[in-house]
């Protein structure tokens, strides 16, 4: 699931993130979401080592995403179009 899926689909961000879609976007990847991810991986046919690796990647992904999401606020307004 990507940020835009959450935002546009209004699928079930409440169920996953306990927030509306816009809010969910600002704090994707909280520690308390890890058990949810674990459950999703466990229900799939992933091996334990793969599940652990995926959980690490989840953390990296969401930390990176949040850093990017907050960084643009500082650089916003630059106009690089001709």
């Amino acid at each position: 699931m990507s940020w835009i899926d959450i935002y546009l689909s209004d699928g079930n961000p409440e169920g996953v993130f306990n927030a509306d879609a816009q809010k969910a976007l600002t704090y994707m990847g909280r520690w308390r979401d890890i058990p949810y991810h674990w459950l999703v991986y466990r229900k799939s046919d992933l091996k334990l080592a793969e599940i652990l690796a995926f959980l690490v990647l989840d953390i990296v992904r969401h930390r990176a995403y949040r850093r990017g999401f907050n960084t643009l606020l500082e650089t916003k307004g630059k106009d690089t179009c001709e």
Binding site: M1, S2, W3, I4, D5, Y7, L8, S9, D10, G11, Q22, L25, S44, L46, E50, A53, F54, L57, V60, R61, H62, R63, A64, Y65, R66, R67, G68, F69, N70, T71, L72, L73, K76, K78, D79, T80, C81, E82
Partner: protein, 250 residues
């Protein structure tokens, strides 16, 4: 997997479709993409490559195989980002159907024909078609992208299960007039992240819809390594914030 394509679709693809690719310093991967485009059946009218200020110019660095495919290369210098590069490609293109893919992808032999068929036979309100993106490699990063279907937008309208909320530049087709009416890619986004979603939202604002075509396949190479993985999602976050602030709510 092979899809029957009527003769009319062969003709439209060969005379009216342009494949647009922006590239920067990925010559080997670009060469693999070009080889896969050369093998398309039907061939598109042309392949337009925009060199986004690669250190070594693409035109001088790649050995082009002899083929019937028209390959046209343009160069943006200095580097202006993938959004601007793709806009350059579109402005230089001659086809009325635009097929986008990335320089780190390779395409299925019927990719162009299948996308063209969907656009040509689809409703006039169809703003664009997104194909399926599959990971090329089997490392843990590729498997993660594949598991989460990061580049495959999920249908979100239960009444219209083929509709998707956005397209990705790795694999999509848009009519040129739709693209121009939308104003093209937002070149305020200088990175690879969010520019395709921004364009999609501008298309949706025209009261058009976007659909998915599972049979139009590209294989995408995801850069391995934790640093690259981090950088990818950092870019998505940057682009995501810009899109949220500028384009949402619709």
């Amino acid at each position: 997997m092979s899809v029957a394509l009527p003769e009319e679709i062969h003709t439209v693809t060969q005379t009216n479709s342009s494949v647009i690719v922006a590239s920067r310093n990925r010559h080997q991967q670009l060469e693999e993409l070009i080889n896969s485009v050369i093998n398309l059946d039907p061939l598109p009218y042309e392949l337009v490559i925009v060199d986004d200020a690669s250190d070594k110019p693409i035109e001088e660095s790649i050995q082009f195989k002899e083929s019937d495919l028209r390959i046209r290369i343009f160069r943006n210098d200095p580097n202006q980002g993938p959004a601007k590069a793709r806009n350059t490609g579109v402005h230089r293109s001659r086809g009325s159907i635009l097929l986008f893919t990335d320089d780190d992808c390779i395409v299925h032999p019927q990719w162009a024909g299948i996308l063209v068929k969907r656009l040509v036979t689809g409703s006039p309100d169809l703003g664009g078609i997104g194909g399926k993106v599959i990971a090329r490699d089997t490392d843990i990063f590729s498997r993660y992208f594949e598991f989460h279907q990061i580049l495959n937008p999920k249908p979100h309208d239960k009444m219209n299960p083929k509709r998707v909320p956005y397209l990705v530049t790795a694999n999509c087709a848009i009519r040129k007039d739709t693209f121009m009416r939308a104003g093209g890619f937002d070149c305020n986004i200088p990175i690879a992240g969010g520019e395709d979603v921004a364009l999609s939202l501008k298309i949706l604002k025209q009261q058009l819809f976007l659909e998915r075509e599972e049979n139009a396949i590209v294989w995408h190479r995801f850069k391995p390594g934790l640093r690259n993985f981090h950088h990818t999602f950092f870019r998505y976050g940057l682009g995501g914030r810009y899109v949220v602030d500028r384009y949402l709510p619709l």
